[in-house]
Symmetry: C2
Subunit: 217 residues, 2 copies
DNA sequence: ATAATAAGTTAGATTAATCTAACAAAAAGA
DNA sequence: TCTTTTTGTTAGATTAATCTAACTTATTAT
């Protein structure tokens, strides 16, 4: 079927599409760490397979087939991450790298079994939704912490980024998914925000608070 | 480090070496399903990396480095198989295909965790020994059932082969690792053997009995 | 011992995924 | 608008892993 390389391109397109309507070759090549000509030629390949729409100089767009294929890879990735955390005792900062490799396993039963053993979870350890087996993605709507006002009482629901560094930063401050957060102050100058949670009081920069996705309590 | 392809060549050499002292390019190309020229050129590559000894027209031999590298891949494979059976509830006939893909994961901690969760097993679900972390292989000595005489009382310890078909054959007859077997008769004509175990009485062909590895009780 | 078969090698081509250099098109800024 | 910068494309080369065809060496069998 699709090579690991092709799968990685699809996945990158999937993630980029969720952030920006128009996905460029340039953005794609950057996130994948390849040159623009390389991305360009792979896009032609994916177009020939009916996985992306593409016209010269126009933005990239996944077809329905491409979207589904990508979602199923993301499903495998997120189920794996959840399995690693819940069943194997890994920390949420360790699982991305392993899942990145395990997600390419071609035996569906392997992931179905993880799903079953986990009790059909809907989110991964970073709060990202796990696509359904049919490729459907149930994207819950979360506000960013950075969009909250003073006095807000919210719950940390998901992260917009899951790099090791960011997760270590959160661990350092005892910030976990599900944490109850009280917005004590918002600094107008730099957008930093002071939150109180589980007997702690922390100042979070805008860069951090816009990556923390929350739901009202 | 080593590509998946290189890893598969090393693994094949490792397995072939345990059966035949002199490993040929031809045998290697057959088990890997590639042409002889392909195997030939990959062997030159592995030689350049110091993983095999090789002289034109001479048999192939893994170097110590190559042997260790191969053993570590086999370790990952067998730990994975054991994990799939013991922790995820797969049947012993389902695990080979999955392990074949999972074994290429590069994160050592993943396999270390499986090892720990399994309580440091020494054998995989088919009775094959799991190499140590340092690449050491503790190969226990087992006789073949086909070498037993009438009246022998033995225990099924391992399988010389683990194809889906063979495992299904054994499942059909309720033959599991650890089964107590009594040799009731050996047919001199075709070498078939009649065994009694857990209230069953079965006739096993030579082809089968020479793949059943046993230890005396 | 010689002929036939099997095994191993060389040469040359192919495909997927990548690169750099050079150029073209589009977008941004003055 | 016109220039500069960014983005995208084309052309051509490279590397890993594969193939087939043709040839050579080794082994086996009569």
């Amino acid at each position: 079927m699709a090579s690991q390389t092709e799968e990685n391109y699809l996945k990158a397109l999937f993630h980029l599409s969720s952030e920006q309507a128009a996905v460029s070759i340039s953005a794609l090549s950057t996130v994948l760490g390849v040159s623009k000509p390389t991305a360009n030629s792979m896009i032609k390949n994916l177009k020939d397979q009916g996985l992306v729409y593409y016209e010269k100089y126009k933005p990239l767009l996944l077809t329905d087939t491409g979207k589904k294929a990508a979602a199923l890879i993301v499903r495998k990735h997120r189920l794996t991450e959840m399995y690693l955390v819940k069943k194997m005792g890994f920390g949420w900062e360790e699982v991305h790298e392993i899942a990145e490799q395990v997600e390419h396993v071609k035996v569906a039963a392997f992931f179905d079994r993880m799903d079953e053993l986990l009790g059909y979870p809907t989110e991964d350890p970073h709060g990202s939704p796990i696509p359904e087996k049919d490729g459907t993605l149930n994207q819950p709507y979360y506000k960013r912490l950075s969009d909250c006002e003073k006095g807000a009482h919210v719950k940390l629901a998901a992260l917009k980024q899951s790099s090791k560094e960011f997760l270590a930063f959160l661990d350092d401050r005892g910030l976990n998914l599900g944490a109850d957060l009280f917005v004590e102050a918002v600094e107008p100058f730099d957008g930093s925000i002071i939150v109180r949670y589980s007997n702690k009081r922390e100042s979070l920069s805008l860069k951090v608070s816009e990556k923390l996705m929350i739901e009202e309590v």
